[in-house]
Amino acid sequence: MTHSRSPLAKIGKGLQILLLLAYAVFALFPLLWMFIMSIKPDSQMLTTTFIFTPTLENYATVLHSDYMQFFFNNLIVSVAAVLVSLVVGVPAAYALARFQFKGKEDIAFTILSFRFAPEILVILPLYLIYQRLGLYDTYFGLIWVYQLITLPLLIWILRGFFEDISPDIEAAAQLDGYAWWQVFLRVLLPLVKPGLVAAGLLCFIFAWNSFTFPLLLSNNVQTSTVIALRYLASDTVHYGQVAAAAAISALPEVILALLIQKHLVRGLSFGAVKG
């Protein structure tokens, strides 16, 4: 990236790095603390800071409980929800970006408006409907309701990225006899890759950490929040186990982020960004 692009060029590389590190401390210290809590025994939890006797017992307790069963259910539902959203949402975003048709902005805004309803507003009628339809505690039921969370986000983010692409690129590809789906896969998707992976990651995170819907609409899919809170228990608070549960919960998101990061940071492959 050329320095002439960034307004921050004036403040010098050294200061830039310093500011970045300052934010990094703010962002990462609580995570470091959470990790420390997860390897601290309960009896030393509140009486020691960085010097203590580390233990893996918290992780052992968590993994030996029924945690993994909920973890995998959550994984299945979240991954499936994001995949469905991708299959449905990417073409929809393209349609909104490219085509002109009657009611386009209304439809687009309607899709966005599904995110306006606070979950508490609809949760109880939704619960009763789900019970009646036999969708309670099913994968299908949750994957479907998660679309309310993931689709608007995906469609609206991608729409902007699609609109940024010049139609001449498609024209050039079509001129050479590429079919429309080849144009889509070979030309368009690589160009929106940063937006696509960013939106996909965000959708997964929101689905993975979703709280109200799994709590009331299922028994066997419980997200990280609810599961980790179980370790607060009622005999005594097992902060270490809560931290361990939360750390394990974060793993799929971290792995996903690491997998997509080269797409996110390398940018457009057609030379839009130098260096």
């Binding site: 692009r5 960034s6 307004p7 921050l8 060029a9 590389k13 830039q16 790095i17 500011l19 970045l20 934010y23 703010f26 962002a27 990462l28 609580p30 995570l31 603390w33 809590m37 073409p91 929809a92 002109q100 386009k104 899709i111 995110r115 306006f116 309803a117 508490i120 507003l121 609809v122 109880l124 009628p125 689709l151 469609i155 609206w156 983010i157 902007g160 940024d164 010049s166 001449d168 498609e170 050039a172 050479d176 006899g177 080849q182 940063p194 937006g195 995170i205 950490n209 997200t223 929040t225 939360a246 690491l258 990061q261 996110l264 940018g267 457009l268 057609f270 030379g271 839009a272 260096g275």
Partner: protein, 338 residues
């Protein structure tokens, strides 16, 4: 090759074509442009199919989500009754729930708290997020490493993150107590005092959601086309001038969408506030979502809670409507710049 023949023009050649061609064309895909020739029966049918194509492409998305209208309407119907979760008697009471909501000072107080919270959080996160994204857009080692790691706070469930912040800032056992005492703030009560509760909430919310802004803005920065900047280099503009007249307008759509989502979600925010203060101390952080939750579940008065949620829904609708209008204008302007 798998895809067939090689194209005559390479993609980069098209991409680097002079700007005039891109400015003049409307944003319709080539397949939609009229093909000329006589209007035969075939091409009329073809045209009709083409006209319905966008609706067909959008249909799955709509079908998947349209179902939410049913519980939505059901909730509205319930709001005209005195349905509560701890009694079996239900009777129609008209607009009573709405009237008592509008007449209660609690409601207006909560509305104010909600707006204050959403505004503060969104402002902090947008400014911080854009700043950090700009810093991360560099190719030095620190930036490259932090690009991935700085997203992590968003991955922790907000309730758990709040719990950790509560522990860190606890004046009796928290790790921050020592440093705070050193700078003379040993008595700072964070979320346990009505004066600093809102501040603490904003800190936690910013910690969780700034990465959201960072990811989107970074993706946007990474998608900026190269040619306008090369032209600017030739013309010799200052970095600030380039930022103001090139980057910002081209980035405006991404910024606005991020703003819409952050504002929309922070107006509805529940988990973080509930986990940190439960709306207290007193009523210092009693947002609309919290008040509605209290009214519906612990207090069992579901029908009383619905008008509050509808009001919140309408507020979010109104704000988003305005912002999307800005977004559309920004999109058109960005197209002109590119």
């Amino acid at each position: 090759m798998f895809w067939g023949r090689e194209p005559a023009l390479s993609i980069t050649e098209v991409w680097n074509a002079p700007m005039s061609t891109t400015l003049s064309s409307p944003r319709t895909p080539p397949s939609e442009l009229p093909r000329g020739g006589s209007a035969s029966k075939d091409s009329i049918a073809h045209a009709r199919r083409r006209r319905f194509r966008p609706y067909l492409v959008l249909a799955p998305a709509l079908i998947l989500t349209i179902g939410i209208f049913i519980p939505f309407i059901a909730a509205i119907c319930l709001s005209f009754t005195d349905y509560s979760l701890n009694s079996s008697d239900v009777s129609f009471i008209g607009f009573d729930n709405y009237l008592s909501m509008l007449q209660s000072s609690d409601f207006w107080h909560s509305l104010w708290i909600t707006i204050e919270y959403a505004f503060l959080c969104t402002a902090v996160e947008m400014l911080l997020g854009v700043g950090v994204a700009l810093l991360l857009n560099d190719e030095n080692i620190v930036a490259r490493f932090l690009r991935i790691v700085l997203i992590f706070p968003l991955m922790i469930a907000p309730v758990i993150g709040t719990l950790i912040w509560k522990l860190i800032t606890n004046p009796s056992v928290g790790i921050l107590v020592g440093p705070m005492r050193m700078i003379g703030l040993g008595d700072f009560k964070w979320a346990a005092s009505p004066d600093s509760a809102m501040f603490s909430l904003v800190v936690v919310d910013a910690w969780v959601y700034t990465p959201f802004v960072i990811i989107l803005v970074l993706a946007g920065l990474r998608s900026l086309p190269k040619s306008p900047y090369e032209a600017a280099l030739i013309d010799g503009g200052s970095p600030w001038f380039v930022f103001k007249n090139l980057t910002l307008p081209m980035l405006a759509p991404v910024l606005l969408i991020t703003l819409v989502f952050r504002l929309m979600l922070s107006l509805q925010e529940f988990s973080i506030i509930f986990a940190l203060t439960e709306g207290g101390p007193g009523d210092a952080t009693m947002s609309l979502s919290l008040q509605a939750y209290n009214r519906a579940f612990p207090f069992y008065g579901l029908a009383e809670a619905i008008p509050m949620m509808l009001f919140l829904w309408a507020l979010v609708y109104f704000v988003s409507f305005i912002l999307i209008g800005f977004w559309r204008r920004a999109q058109q302007r960005a197209a002109g710049v590119a």
